[in-house]
Structure formats: C-alpha cells, structure tokens
C-alpha cells in the first residue's frame, strides 16, 4: 500500500525533467550534516490536483496507505518520500507545483508539514517552534483550530498517539527511513554514520508555508537534535539554544518557555490553553513589532527612528549567523581533509 519514489519521480518528470533528474541522483545526499527532511502536504480545500496525482500514482487502491495522522481540515494528506536535504525537499515541492500548475508555497490551500528525525525534548521543541515562528518570511496569527490534527482529540481511539494542538508535534509512530547519513561525533572528530540513529522518532513542524520555513526548520532541527544527541553540531546547537533563550529574556518573553510547546506523547490528554496563551503572547509581540516597523516605514520613508533592531530582526540575524557558521565550518572541514 505504498507508491515508490521512482513512480512519483516518473510522474513528475515530464513537467520538470532537470530537477527530477537531479533528485534521482542526489535525493539521499545529506548536505553539511544537516538533518534529513520528510514532507507531508495537507490540502485544506479543493483536492482535484492531489486526486489527479493519486490517479497518476496508481489510484486510491494502490497508493492510499493506512495513515491517520493528518491535519484535521485536510481533505487529502500526501506523504512524500524523505530526502537528504532542504534543497531536495524544495525541489520536490517545486516539481509538484509544476505538475499541479499552481503554487504550493504561500498558498493558503496547502500546509506543509516538515518532519525531522529525533524527538526533541520539550525545551528544544519550544525553541524550534519559536524560532520557526519568528524566523518565517510571513507572520501568521494562528487560531487554535488551525493546529488541530486527527491526533488532537482522539485519545481513546489512538491511545499514545494523542498529540494535542501544537505547531510542533512528535511522530505518530509511523515509518522512518533510516538510510541517510548522520554526522556523529567520536573522540571529538567527525564520524559519518550511514544510518540515522533513530527507530521511528521524529519531530514535525505542522504549519510550514514557504521555502524559508523549510530551510529554517532544517537548520534548527539539526542544531537542536545534535545538541540533544551529542552529535557533530552539538556545540553550535548548545550556543544557538542559549542565544534564543537570551533573545527571549531581552524581550521579557522568557516565561513562554515554561509551557509545554509540544505534547509529550504520553497518552494523556493535553491542556492546550497554556501553550496557546504563550503562542498568543508571542504573536502579539511579533505583530506589535510589525506595527512599529510599519509606522516607522511610513513616517520616515524607510529610515529607522530607533536603535533597537527588534525581535524579528534579531531572530533573522541569529538564523543567518548559525547558518553561515555551520556552512563555513563544513566547508573548512572539507578543505582540511582535501589537503
């Protein structure tokens, strides 16, 4: 009850041959030790294009698997094959956009769930959710209903799979393709393992809508999972966590880290109100910042009237800094070994 990657790529190839060929060659290539990327597309409205894709992949009987974990308002949820990098993930979605004939990114009809290996601890999941929200190219004002999945309320039916309503979610104990590289650390040196050190554990961000979201989630989950697993990028991960915490403290938002940003998957029903209060506080702060910047833009024709960059610019700078440092170190590592 599953379609193969090759079938999907064959269906997409007439619409974007160059990218499909690149995906065939490099789909499993891990870049700079960043984590692998799994994708789910939740279609929140008309699903004709997705149904056409299902038909092209062999029809419902062939391709619909026994999967229950979906956005509650999704008419169809497509689980895509995992890839080795954010770049491949974006290419895959761009190919599907070509097939559909319309955009998936920044389209309110679609929500992209980005799945990363490793169940991040509660504090790390909080950092991921906050960095994802503030670092996105779009600020969104969520309602709690926007975060409802089929695993939000059905504790009796699915038992341990109850996940509450969150931006960041643990896996539903489904499949995890482990056949990707993992940059580990042994005796302070890089050691590349050929399989992921996880059985099924994942941490997912439910509400991605852009390429930037995918890249930011990929960067943050790499840093946070390496910190948690004491893997190659653990030092960067530890510093990044501390920097995000300090950023929130500077903006008197440190308290929002004390609430459960992820459901612990214990099977117990979750109290979503604490989390949503914290998210509302963050959203209000971000939108106030937007209003301040918008007023400055109108009044001063782009000239900033204050010295403080603001939480949005600080998060952008933080993400830029850690992306640049990770890339520089990775390239330096490669050059060092080439000597």
């Amino acid at each position: 009850m599953a379609y193969t990657v090759e079938t999907l790529l064959s269906v997409l190839r007439p619409h974007c041959p160059a990218k499909v060929d690149a995906l065939r060659k490099d789909r499993r290539r891990v870049e700079h030790g960043l984590t692998t990327v799994g994708l789910k597309i939740h279609c929140l409205g008309d699903n004709q294009e997705l149904l056409r894709l299902i038909d092209a992949l062999g029809g419902e009987f062939e391709v619909i698997a026994n999967r229950h974990y979906a956005h509650a308002r999704a008419s169809v949820t497509v689980v895509l094959p995992p890839v080795g990098s954010a770049r491949s993930a974006i290419w895959l979605l761009e190919c599907i956009e070509k097939y559909f004939g319309h955009s998936i990114f920044h389209n309110p009809r679609y929500q992209v769930q980005v799945c990363s290996p490793c169940r991040l601890s509660g504090p790390r999941a909080a950092i991921l959710a906050i960095a994802f929200y503030l670092g996105s190219d779009v600020l969104r004002r969520y309602r709690l209903d926007d975060l409802t999945t089929t695993f939000s309320q059905d504790a009796l039916l699915f038992g341990r799979k109850h996940r509450g309503r969150r931006i960041v979610l643990y896996d539903g104990e489904g499949d995890l393709d482990r056949n990707f590289e993992w940059w580990d650390l042994e005796k302070s040196r890089l050691s590349i393992k050929l399989r992921l050190p996880f059985a099924t554990e994942r941490t997912d961000v439910l509400t991605c809508q852009s390429k930037t979201d995918i890249e930011n989630v990929n960067l943050m989950t790499t840093l946070l999972s390496h910190d948690q697993m004491l893997a190659y990028w653990k030092h960067l991960g530890r510093r990044c966590m501390a920097d995000v915490e300090a950023l929130l403290q500077r903006h008197i938002l440190g308290g929002i880290l004390d609430v459960p940003w992820i459901h612990p998957a214990t099977g117990k029903r979750a109290d979503d109100t604490q989390f949503f209060s914290a998210l509302q506080e963050l959203m209000t702060y971000a939108f106030d910042e937007y209003a301040r910047l918008e007023k400055e833009r109108r009044n001063q024709a782009g000239q900033s009237t204050s010295d403080r960059p603001g939480i949005l610019a600080e998060m952008q700078a933080l993400l830029r800094h850690y992306r640049a440092e990770l890339l520089a170190r990775s390239i330096g590592l490669s050059q060092e070994r080439a000597k």
Partner: protein
C-alpha cells in the same frame, strides 16, 4: 486587527503579513562533493532487525 497608540493614526494589520525583518538570501551553495571518512554504524549485539528496517520507506497518501 487594528494597532495604534493614543493620538496616532491606527493601521490595519491583516492576519498574515510579510515579516518586515526578512530579506531573501541568495541561493545556498552546493555542499562540497568530497565526503569525510565514513565510519559504519555500531550495531548493538542484541539489536533485532525488523523487516521494516530493511525496507525503504516510500510515500503514502491518506484520505479522510
């Protein structure tokens, strides 16, 4: 949503807005082709390898 301070002109803010601090960055550089030395994964003695461990994960589609 409307945001304003007393005495100032209110501005309307939609529920979704572009992040004003965001600037698109250039396309990422491809990673170098060279790979560092690889070390095989250490497999614990009592690891049970299930069929699903050996089967590549393919995509699936769910309808509801």
């Amino acid at each position: 949503m409307r945001a304003h301070q007393p005495g100032s002109t209110p501005i309307d803010i939609p529920e979704t807005v572009p992040n004003p601090a965001y600037f698109p960055r250039p396309a990422p550089e491809p990673a170098p082709e060279r790979e560092p030395t690889k070390a095989p994964e250490k497999v614990p003695e009592k690891t049970i390898v299930s069929r699903s461990d050996c089967t590549p994960v393919h995509g699936g589609i769910s309808l509801r």
